[in-house]
């Protein structure tokens, strides 16, 4: 067979290089984020990584990150959801009506909002999964329907302000139990703890791998990656700790990222979603209920869009009829920059989050530099295109 010589050539290459080649995408995106951050750190004369700005960066991008996690699942499953911006805005409006106009306590109101979001996602998912109507069309319709519904709810006006307790989810910070003077000690400790935990977990995983055979990742990469990740976490939490500590929404994001990463990588549900996205026919003939999975993925997306809507409304302290407009495009761009494939079956949660932050850092950095919104749009568009071209190029080279 013709492919045997090619295989031989691959095994003869140094293992480190070969590893880098096959994992180009995962590392590439991380390096890209670092390079972009370094670039803006210099070009903004150090403003980018100032604690206050860093806090801002997290707050500004939280709702995009939250939706990107859900969108990653949708895109891996082989679909697209154009309605998330509108759903987000609609749920934000709903929360304002419930809390401000009807005076409902913020906890039941938030729960109602999440349920409504999940229901919206489920309805769209029903048509997509069981009626085989293209997701592009169903969610395009959803985008229009919920944009309109939001305006109906708000009667064209902004509604606010929200109760302070509710606002805390997006603009509050975790309490400091140690009452540090210039440093938020709890935040810093939390950062150190998480970094330690991550290093511990990856050492244990590697030990397990070693017991059962040769680990895939070269030792050098393993050490380098762990040091880099741990240092980055500690450094960033330190920076945040010198300001007001970790924002509440940062904790929410971290839990979502960790949780969905785990689901995607380490559960049978995750495996099934990747299989359905990779080859739906083969997945179905392997006994996987592709319809139900698709349905659930959209219901989940709706719920996360609702959560993003709550965070966004709380951050603005009001619901406006413009909320969520074009956010779906930022979310989808983040997922594709993060290495997901339009055809489905490929992509990671962490990649999507990094993609969201690449967009976020560029927005933030270019705004600080005083670059106009017109140029910002163009540059972001080109970055999206470049990322996908890089993907395709890599794929062609590998084949």
């Amino acid at each position: 067979m013709t492919d045997i010589p090619a295989q031989k050539a691959e095994t003869e290459r140094p293992p480190a290089l070969q590893f880098l080649r096959t994992h180009m995408r995962e590392y590439g995106i991380l390096f890209a984020l670092i390079a972009i951050m370094v670039f803006f750190q210099f070009s903004t004369e150090g403003i980018l990584l100032r604690p206050v700005n860093l806090t801002n960066l997290v707050l500004q991008n939280s709702y995009i990150v939250i939706m990107a996690v859900g969108m990653l699942m949708v895109i891996v499953c082989g679909h697209i959801d154009l309605s998330v911006g509108s759903v987000m805005g609609f749920v934000g409006a709903l929360s304002a009506v419930l809390m401000v106009n009807f005076g409902i306590h913020y906890i039941p109101a938030a729960i109602i909002c999440l349920i409504v979001g999940a229901a919206i996602g489920a309805i769209q998912g029903y048509w997509i999964a069981y009626w085989k109507i293209p997701s592009f069309i169903v969610t395009l319709a959803g985008m229009l329907v919920f944009k309109g519904s939001m305006m109906v709810l708000l009667k064209g006006q902004s509604v606010g302000p929200f109760p302070n307790e509710f606002r805390a989810i997006s603009s509050g910070f975790i309490p400091d139990f140690f009452a540090g003077e210039s440093l938020h000690i709890t935040s810093l400790l939390l950062g150190v703890a998480v970094a330690t935990l991550l290093v511990f977990l990856s050492i244990r995983a590697r030990q397990k791998e070693q017991k059962h055979g040769v680990p895939e990742e070269p030792f050098f990469f393993f050490v380098g990656r762990n040091i880099l990740v741990a240092a980055a976490i500690v450094y960033l939490t330190y920076l945040l700790a010198t300001a007001r500590g970790l924002p509440n929404v940062f904790i929410v994001m971290a839990i979502l990222i960790a949780g969905y990463s785990f689901i995607a990588k380490q559960t049978t549900i995750g495996r099934r979603i990747y299989a359905v996205g990779g080859n739906q026919k083969a997945a179905k003939l392997s006994g996987i209920n592709a319809e139900r999975l698709t349905f659930l993925v959209f219901a989940n997306m709706g719920m996360l869009a609702a959560l993003a809507g709550l965070v966004f409304a709380a951050r603005l302290n009001m619901a406006t009829p413009k909320a969520g407009e074009t956010f779906e495009l930022d979310v989808i761009a983040a997922v594709f920059i993060g290495g997901a494939s339009m055809a489905g079956g490929v992509g990671t949660v962490v990649g999507a989050v990094v993609g969201a932050f690449i967009m976020g850092v560029m927005n933030n950095g270019m705004s600080i530099m005083g670059i106009g919104i017109d140029w910002q749009q163009m540059i972001k568009g080109l970055v999206l295109l470049a990322a996908v071209i890089f993907d395709v190029y890599n794929k062609n080279k590998a084949a």
């Binding site: 067979m1 059962h212 997945a283 179905k284 006994g287 490929v346 084949a399």
Partner: protein, 511 residues
Amino acid sequence: MTAILEMKGITKTFPGVNALDNVNLTVEQGEIHALVGENGAGKSTLMKVLSGVYPHGEYEGQIFFEGEEKRFGNIADSERDGIIIIHQELALVPLLSIAENIFLGNERAGRGIIDWSETYRRTEELLKRVSLKESPRTRVTHLGLGKQQLVEIAKALSKEVKLLILDEPTSSLNEKDSQALLDLLVDLKGKGVSSILISHKLNEISQVADRITVLRDGATVSTLDCQKQEISEDDIVRDMVGRSLSDRFPPRQPNIGEPLFEVRNWSAFHPIHSDRQIVKNVNFHVRAGEVVGIAGLMGAGRTELAMSLFGKSYGDKISGEVRLRGKSVDVSSVHKAIKAGICYATEDRKTYGLVLDQSIRGNVPLANLKGIANGIVVDNHQERSVAEQYRSRMSIKSSGIAQKTVNLSGGNQQKVVLSKWLYAGPEVLILDEPTRGIDVGAKYEIYSIINDLAAAGKAIVVISSEMPELLGISDRIYVMNEGAFIGEMPVAEASQEKIMSMILKKGGKAA
């Protein structure tokens, strides 16, 4: 009479295979020439050489058309000379009208602007010639298959056809439409259009053909003249098959037990044309440790039978009963079928068998994810060891379990598909064309795996279009034709002639 077409010494090789070996074919002016042979005998390849799909230079030998040597570089070249081929899968655009289809790529137009009245006028004429009473404006999707064939022929006539090639034109037509088509061929012959008819239906061939050329294993076996002598269907069948079985199959000691798998009165209908019954009241059984073959031509309904049994993956209005060890089991979804212990390895591994973008490791446990997980959490170590275990057991040649299945050779891909099903722990394994498109060495390995499974007491069903393969690995053979089981025989009593003549004669009568 003079020859309109002479193909002399045509040889065409693909890497590793001699698809055509010094084939000669002569078609006289104004005759219907039938071309017969088994699946893979080289009929389609020969026609592709003739029509320019394989351009001059990719084959050896000469083609003379109307006395001149021709060197076609592509299909357009051969069409310009009046050689037009109509494939088994029709090449019409369903949502365009009859007139639009007929003049597609050959539009009646001046300076790029279509002359619709001319188009419709010409279409009316052409439809009259093929006796099709439809408006030129009717969309092709509203026509039955028989009428679509006529549209194809009208399209050929619009290009001033001199030699018409029809590849299995009646395979999906009912008797009435088939007859109309054959009558049209005879009618066209009277008007000077010669044709080459490729068909498996010997009764149709003996009805209309003037001469018959038989191909076997890429070589011309004989040319029979129906005018000079009486040709019996047995003569044709004998020429078509008749090759010896060499030791291409691993030895096997069958150890056959109790009936394990039983199918009763199984029927299924076409999912779109719900009045077409694809599987007709099929009954069969497989014993533990037995390998049962299902023989039949392409389109006999074997894959449809298997897929309808496997969680209703094909068809509509499915009825019948499936029994496992004497107990009725529910196979209404793929999940339930797998759970009951029935697995189906597809004939089309790239479309239905593998998630090509994923590794061996990702594909092997796909039908039994519970096996590598605690609850819903995947155990990486377990997953890796399962993949490693099957990689070595099946000797899957790859750089490791992390290699993507898209980069594996056909034989190794097939082994990954088999691994997936073995890991699901089946009792009954239905293998659909398990060795399609893979080389001889890998075939031997797959046969050995099948033998091992049978030795372990599984019930194996093999669907294959390669008759020698069925004869080489089965214990018992069922013959399927046009949706029904028409015969059953132990392998000791089976031969290619017997199976072929059963199919062809029965097929002729039933059609």
